[in-house]
Amino acid sequence: MKRNFLLVFLIALIGFIYIGRLFQLQVLNKIDNSPISSATIKIEYDYPERGYIYDRNGEILVANQLSYDVMVVPKEVSKIDTLEFCNLLRITKADFSKRLKKAKNYARWLPSVFIKQLAKSDYAYLQEKLHKFKGFYIQKRTIRDYPIKTAANVLGYLSEVNELQAKNNKLYENGELIGKWGVEKYYEDALRGKKGKKHFNRNNLNRITGSYKEGIYDTLSTSGKDITLTLDNKLQQFGEKLMTGKRGGIVVIEPNSGEILALVTAPSYDPNMMVGRKRSIHSQRLFGDTINNPTYDRGLQAIYEPGSPFKILNGLIGLQEGVIDEKYGVYCNGGYRYGKRKHEFMRCHCGIYGRPVRLKKAIAKSCNSYFADVYRKIINKPKNTKIGFDNWSDQIKSFGLGNYLGYDLPVGQKGLIPNAQYYDNRYNFGWRATTNISNAIGQGEILTTPIQLANATAAIANKGYYYTPHVVKKINNIDIKDEKFTTKRQTSVNPKYFSPIVEAMHEVFKTGTGRYSQVKGIEICGKTGTVENFAKIDGQRVQLPDHSILIAFAPKDNPKIAMAVFVENGGYGATIAAPITSLMIEKYLTGKISRTDLEERMTNLSLEETYKKQLQKKNSIASTTE
């Protein structure tokens, strides 16, 4: 019996070894079998339609259009008439080989884009013939379409997700579209929708053999949400028209809601340039233009010294702090002496001699001396200058200046409202209220963006509060409920102090610097500004034409519109900014323009010559203090 034991033993041994090996493979080393990681499952996406974008009156600003890509699966390409194919697609033979090689390098079995975004006419023609060319087919995609050429800076554009982004963000795959700027970027999540997923079984040759588990893991796509903007398309286009040939920005806000009615930057571009087959050429041209900077949103990103409009805020704070009242008067006499030395004198053009300038007059005539005095009084109210200065700084900031406003567009600038700490760091020898007396008249260290000024104007129009400006009104036809945009933000100034200021601003358009830009039947309140700016050319300080600035709201009672206008190198506030403002206000409030000659004149007024001159001097422009 000893001999028959060998087989008994061997069978047991092999059985033990094999089951042990199976245990090792299937229990200890078993592999993750989830549908995502498995090689046997192919995932196909069903792309939802991206949400449309409308203006506040329901006009379509952004829609979708079909585009046709020629795709290629290199492995399936067999003998084709290359010459005919190249003629069809209007490419050269070298280009053909280059594209095919690129596709081969990516993957032989997988489709890749051969030619992007054919013209519709090409598609119809090509579709007839393409069956002759094995391995090539046409894939439809949706791309953006802009029926109205407007507001490119607000709408933004889409771009393809690159490999790195796809790696870092699980929501995207390489080559998918993502909002890159403007509303497209900020509201990407809402606009994108949710792509559907379909799982397919695939075999060893990467061919699809059927639905995976009858589709229990499949999801349907959810189309993107439509967005209604706060922009008024007509006003926006009108603003863009008025700004032709100029550089600058117009920001228009509805004061009682914080909704941005128009956000004009000039120069701008046609949003259709950022879609289609020539996109890359266009984008190179747009982003490469460092002279005109069409992709730079001057309404949001450009920081200027606010100039005279800033005086309004100083007046308000003076009233709030009790250092002045409506009756308080200052003798101007052509300037304000704030020190004993010769240069410690600020000139003034208000032209009031021999009698005290009071608040209303000071605003209407833009008296420098008056506000220098008020500013000095505010800072010096407490014994400690630093406390006084910080108090002033905080109150200015309560109008939304000196920091990001928090609006729903992805670009912006902080601007600058200095505080005591800032001057401590800057002046080693110590500083006083008069060290930077220019702050009183909105020059000096003060820097603001047009949208910040427009927002401050809205706060003045509202007599003491504002809503954070925003461009989106409804998502999927439901009013936005974001607390950020529905919370009333109080300024530090008591509402009762606004009335005299508003009256004074009304005076500006009645009798003051804006009197030539009155509109019949509309009570406009505003403040012009003229900001000196200089450039250093060959080491010499050269004065450039002033920036033309204006803030305004209308009508005086129950304001419907608040705005800020900046025109670079436009001269006096009264000459360019004021007419533009009055036209915009008239357009928005009445829906028509009575002064068509003025409209024509402003549209045709070009500052290109001025800008060219600066360019010839070949030096960068630097706004400097005076």
Binding site: R3, V8, I11, G15, I19, R21, N29, N33, N203
Partner: protein, 425 residues
Amino acid sequence: MRQQQNNIFANIDWVLILIYALLVGFGWLNIYAASSTEETRAAFEFSSRYGKQLIFIGLSFPMIILVLFLNSKFYEQYSSLLYIFSLLLLAGVFLFGKKINGATSWYSFGGIGLQPSEFAKAFTALALAKLMSDRQYNLSLVKNQVKAFTIIFLPAFFIALQPDMGSVLIYFSFFLVLNREGLTVRYFILAAVALVLFLFTVYFGIKLVLISSLITLTFIFSFLAYRKKQFFRFNWPIIILAYIISSIFILSVGYTYSNILKQHQKDRFDILLGKIKDNKGIGYNTYQSELTIKSGGITGKGFLQGDRTQGNFVPEQDTDYIFSTVSEEWGFLGSSFVIILFMCLLYRILYLSENQTNKFARIYGYGIVSIFFFHVIVNIGMVIGLLPTIGIPLPFFSYGGSSLWGFTLLLFIFIRLDGHKKYDY
């Protein structure tokens, strides 16, 4: 006698029948899973692989009935004739056969192929049993050893010419029978040493193995001499002979490996020994097979749910690699169950063989245990990545009429012989 013969169904071993039914039935389910796709499942197609296999299974019933109703004496009396008949079939293949996948091992009858080598195993087992059941037969005589070797290797020779090396390998399993019947263990030790030397040579190269084996031999001789207290009385001729033989063997292994073995055969060893890693080319089968097994996990993905099986990731998955389907869809539990089922089959035949009063039936039983055992070892060992790629079917599981009928014939002749034991003498 007549009455007892009519009563064959009362005497057959129902345990073996049950195991057989389980293996064939479960095997067919896996062939169905491996050869059908979701679309083709809607309608049952007899022209498909699983449909044909069902026909093969159906056709095996007449054969079973025939095998069971023939007198058990028939197999003993006509074993020589059957053996010669199978040799003729094997030889005839070169004249009338068909070449498939580079091997001439098929007869073709109207679309259905027959592989004589699958049937030759059964008849060789019968012939060997007939030879060794002779009362005069004594395996310690070299003359008798040569007789036995001739019976075993004559069909193997024809099969080697086809060439079908996997099937040739199976004939070595008869050494287990010879061992049971008294063949000296030295052959096995020699074979084991040769196998180890072969693998070592392939893995480490000639020089290293040559030197280390000579050193090992020296140690063994010294140890033996020390045990026998004969320090200075070495048996020089034997020692020198041992050195020479082992050197020649190692050198010839090296030569065979690098000059005689075909590239694909070399590759199989290299893949197994981990000398090269190529999951997309020559190592694709083994790599995919292991991945598929791993993906099954403990409980498997469920019947017809094996996505790797559905995707045809493992080549030959309804034939040689059928076990990977079991592993993927039924998991560790299912694949262990199959191994245990085979162990039950082997132990049951072994148990019945040991209880045979008839020497012929006992030797035949041993023969088929050895054949089944080798098939299971080689096939499953290949699929789970323990042995090199050798293409032989898994009994009752792999797709194919010839192999199913061949194995059925093997098993049922034994069941017939076993059923007769009670009134044999």
